[in-house]
Amino acid sequence: MLQIRLHGRGGQGVVTAAEMLSLAAFLEGHFAQAFPSFGSERTGAPVVAYARIDDKEIRTHEPILEPNAVVVQDKTLLGAIDVFAGIDPQGFAIINSAEPAEVVVPDLVKKLPAGHVLTVPATDFAMQKIGRPLPGAPMLAALAAATGVFALESVQKSFQSRYPGKVGDANADTAALAYEYIMNLKNGGNNA
């Protein structure tokens, strides 16, 4: 079972991202679960959402304390809360930033296997294609590229089915940019 924890701030589409993640997995025939950290979220407040992906029925409803992957949609959270708490030593971390991971989270880069801690300028991509700072789709695409657990197309389809038309397509385009960005990194490329 893959357990993913997503961090962000209210208004950034964190909960939606978790849902889209579960939908992407569902579209590939997996069992998946997504749920927010239940609270009365307000714009700007730290928000956590969770997702699980498995090949059998997911029964548990406990929050994810030991994630296999952590997605951080807002870099400013890094100093505020311990977003990587309980992360699997073999796990992945994707951070929304234009700066390299080594600069943003040098300690984590050392702790996790090489190539498991990645940054992606998701907000930049979102502003390019959507025109609003909604980094959900590119972050998921980055996670897909990093882990290979699900495909870019599934992320794109999930957004397109949730937001039929322009918005979905723009999200899909953003996702594609992020996916290419990570694949490029993984292939040793330099996105700078």
């Binding site: 978790a18 849902e19 579960s22 939908l23 569902f26 579209l27 069992f31 998946a32 679960q33 997504a34 749920f35 927010p36 239940f38 609270g39 009365s40 997911i58 029964r59 548990t60 409803h61 406990e62 929050p63 304390l65």
Partner: protein, 417 residues
């Protein structure tokens, strides 16, 4: 049809499949998404021959439902927590009138202090309201239970409260298998009210009944509840055969064969507990889970059969009765009287505190190691937090770990001394 959707949307879809005539909505977290979705379905025309009424309070939500049901259509509403309490007068009234309303309670704690997260204090407060109360362990279970609920309510002639954990289920995106409209139509026939307000056959509903017939009326209401037990079982069987979904029922056993300890749990904790006991099984610890679905009517016989000769029984509760102890305990004790089973209550998960797999494991171990010193024990207590208060105010502290009721009471002795 498989869908990856939010639990609330699943419930809305299920309710829509039942062709209600009236849906009443008043916002309160965490049930809101259900009625939002139903409102959209009515407005788009996806749900036909149904009116969606935005009322001004829960009291009116249940009241409009009462009116609609008395007027001869299927009526549905949803609420939680304070909302349920605000409608209580109508809740009792609906059952007294025998109106087969179906209502979702997205279980949530009751304030003060205000708390929007899940526990069972709201639904359990309606224990004696005369409604059937069916608890759901997953969104699939909840979805299916809603469809069954209409059929059960209409056959029994009493309203049904479908209790599903707020947020934990309502806000969870999961894979759900929705039956088709044809399947539901086959399962749930068009609504034929037992009695309703009809100018062709005028009746007076809700007259005043005095001491001369009140007892008898109540006995007949109790008889309906007794009737409901086999009806729930039969309807569940029919539904399972039709859809292949293993949902509903009076209760459901997991890993119960030869279990050394059995946990009786209601709601979404069951799923977490199943994973936990699977892990315990790998360590050779044999713990079973009894998912209690029907709280009212209470399935005494089914529970006794499910416990069998197991001696260690722990009830995991997300609420308790102030000044008393666990709410389920007296029912379970009654069911198991004479079996010699040791029955204890573990209280945890109040006001949204997550019940983790580890919590379940702790409870199992606590039981098997005979650590229950008291009928009721709190688990997952933040001892430091409570001591920080008690020490300052009364000069006493509580020990770390699970907190038995007798230890809590002992602190009073210490204060006095």
């Amino acid at each position: 049809m498989l869908k990856q959707i939010e639990g609330s949307l699943g419930i809305a879809e299920a309710v829509a499949l039942c062709r209600p005539g009236a849906v009443c909505a008043y916002p309160i977290s965490p049930q809101t998404h259900i009625v939002e979705n139903l409102g959209k379905m009515v407005k788009t025309g996806k749900l036909q021959d149904c009116e969606f009424v935005n009322v001004e309070s829960e009291f009116s939500a249940i009241s409009v439902s009462i009116g609609a049901s008395a007027g001869g259509v299927r009526a549905y509403t949803a609420t939680a927590s304070q909302g349920l309490l605000y409608m209580v007068e109508g809740v009792y009234n609906a059952s007294g009138l025998g109106l087969p309303i179906v209502m979702t309670v997205a279980s949530r704690a009751i304030g003060a202090p205000i708390n929007i997260w899940n526990d069972h204090s709201d639904s359990l407060s309606q224990r004696d309201s005369g409604w059937l109360q069916l608890f759901c362990e997953s969104n699939q279970d909840a979805l299916d239970t809603h469809i069954m609920a209409f059929k059960i309510a209409e056959e029994v002639g009493l309203p049904v409260m479908v209790c599903m954990d707020g947020f934990v289920l309502t806000h969870a995106f999961e894979r759900l298998d929705l039956p088709s409209q044809e399947q539901v139509d086959q399962f749930l026939p068009p609504y034929e009210p037992r009695e309703f307000l009809d100018p062709k056959e005028p009746i007076s509903m809700g007259g005043m009944v005095g001491p001369e017939a009140f007892t008898e009326l109540r006995i007949l209401q109790q008889r309906k509840m007794h009737k409901a037990l086999p009806i729930i079982e039969r309807v569940t069987k029919e539904y399972r055969e039709l859809t292949g979904h293993h949902s509903g029922g009076l209760l459901d056993c997991y890993n119960c064969d030869n279990a050394d300890v059995k946990l009786i749990i209601m709601g979404s904790t069951v799923g977490t507990a199943k994973d936990a006991v699977d892990e315990l099984a790998k360590q050779g610890i044999k713990a079973g889970i009894i998912s209690l679905k029907a709280f009212r009517p209470f399935p005494y016989e089914a529970l006794r059969a499910a416990i069998g000769d197991t001696k260690n029984v722990v009830i995991v509760e997300r609420h308790f009765s102030y000044g008393a102890r666990g709410i389920l305990y007296p029912e379970v004790e009654r069911a198991l009287r004479g079996t010699g089973a040791q029955i204890h209550t573990a209280v945890c998960g109040l006001g949204g505190r997550a019940i983790l797999g580890s919590t379940i494991k702790d409870i199992v171990n606590y039981s098997l190691n005979n650590k229950f010193s008291s009928e009721m024990t709190w688990f997952d207590v933040d001892t430091k937090l409570i001591n920080s208060y008690l020490k300052d105010t009364e000069g006493v502290t509580l020990p770390e770990g699970p907190l038995p009721e007798d230890v809590l009471m002992d602190t009073l002795q210490k204060v006095r001394a």
